[in-house]
């Protein structure tokens, strides 16, 4: 798993509605709904590496055999959509 520290990008508005998180990304302007596991991953990602996120989630979901791949896929997707960034880097947008 990549070792970059993750962060919530500057300028992204966040509204936590319990089980879900709604994000407004200013560039390009769009609303994103993250619910369930995606919301969990996003919340945990601030100031952690992908591995760090996985290490926390595996304690809660020890029986999910695909957890490592799921976390990597989810974080990579979020990086691509501008919902996460790496420390000292701009968000990598598709």
């Amino acid at each position: 798993m990549p070792e970059d520290l993750l962060r919530h990008p500057d300028g992204v508005l966040v509204e936590d509605v319990g089980d879900a998180v709604v994000l407004f990304v200013p560039e390009p302007e769009a609303l994103h709904l993250l619910d369930g596991p995606a919301a969990l991953v996003w919340r945990l990602a601030e100031a952690r590496t992908m591995r760090g996120v996985y290490d926390i989630l595996v304690r809660t979901f020890p029986d999910v055999s695909t957890l490592r791949d799921d976390v990597e896929k989810t974080v990579t997707d979020m990086l691509g959509r501008g919902l996460l960034a790496t420390q000292d880097h701009s968000p990598r947008l598709r």
């Binding site: 509204e15 509605v17 089980d19 879900a20 709604v22 302007e29 609303l31 709904l33």
Partner: protein, 291 residues
């Protein structure tokens, strides 16, 4: 033409006086030099007419309708709107113009929804929906059923207490819905839509300012039967955002207000293929929320 605000107790024909109106802080006055069209304009905007004393003090947009050849021209704050229109086209155009002004102003300063809204027995119902979804038809049916009318087009959220601020314009009934409301058929049918005075179905209880107690997302679907679903907060927020006027003009304030709303207010989707089923759906939702 003189421009003197009239008392709302007089059913003035706009042909002889300018009359002032207010729609969600958009203030405007209308004058018309042809009395029959003037009367129709007065009837169209009667639900948003202002009291004379208030009208005299407020800045407002001046809309003047003048005979021009075989039709009418429209002048807004002294600027001539291009085109000559029939009487029916004047009514359609002005209703569209006022709606546009309302939406523009609300979205610049606050949070407003493209929505119908009604109230009865302590329940304040907010029905955000896109054009063509049937919300005006649903609003008319609910008013006929005894509900107090707030709007079939737009409401603003008061930022302090989350209460709905109404825009009680004439209810717009499109051609596909007109056969359902023969009792409000206009005397002159030269407009694309019918503009029904909400008072046509009789007096209703006055609106008590309130935050919405239920949000209902209506959608007419031929052959769709009746489907009522409760929405989780996340999807509900996205659905409300789609009906928020120019969400991007104030993304932070809009996001916060929608978030607060979905955390505190039950949200349902209502898909229906007939008016009877829509009313049944509303009753089911109210039963479920215990109203």
């Amino acid at each position: 033409m003189s421009r003197v605000a009239s008392s709302p107790s007089r059913q003035s024909a706009v042909g002889d006086l300018g009359t002032s109106y207010e729609a969600l802080d958009f203030r405007f006055a209308v004058t018309c030099d042809e009395p029959i069209l003037g009367s129709r304009l007065a009837a169209l905007f009667r639900p948003v007419q202002r009291a004379a004393a208030e009208a005299l003090q407020a800045a407002r947009q001046d809309i003047a309708i003048r005979r021009n050849g075989g039709g009418f021209s429209i002048e807004i704050d002294g600027i001539l709107d291009p085109g000559i229109r029939t009487a029916g086209e004047v009514l359609d155009h002005l209703q569209w113009h006022v709606n546009s002004q309302v939406i523009d102003r609300v979205s610049q300063r606050g949070t407003g929804f493209h929505a119908a809204a009604l109230q009865r027995d302590g329940v304040t119902l907010l029905c955000p929906a896109e054009s063509g979804s049937g919300k005006s038809t649903l609003a008319a049916a609910l008013v006929r059923d005894g509900w107090t009318y707030l709007s079939d087009e737009a409401v603003e959220i008061d930022p302090a207490a989350g209460q709905l601020v109404p825009y009680p314009k004439a209810i717009t009934l499109d051609p596909g819905a007109q056969h359902l409301f023969p009792e409000v058929r206009p005397e002159v049918a030269d407009t694309q839509s019918w503009y029904a005075d909400p008072d046509a179905w009789g007096p209703r209880a006055a609106y008590v300012p309130s935050a919405p107690t239920v949000v209902l997302l209506p959608r007419f679907a031929l052959g769709g039967g009746l489907l009522v679903d409760s929405l989780a907060a996340g999807p509900a927020l996205l659905a409300l955002a789609q009906s928020t006027f120019h969400f991007r003009r104030g993304p932070e304030r809009n996001l916060r207000r929608l978030g607060r709303m979905v955390r505190t207010t039950p949200v349902y989707s209502l898909r229906y293929e007939s008016l009877d089923l829509a009313l049944e759906g509303v009753r089911r939702v109210l039963d479920e929320v215990g109203s």
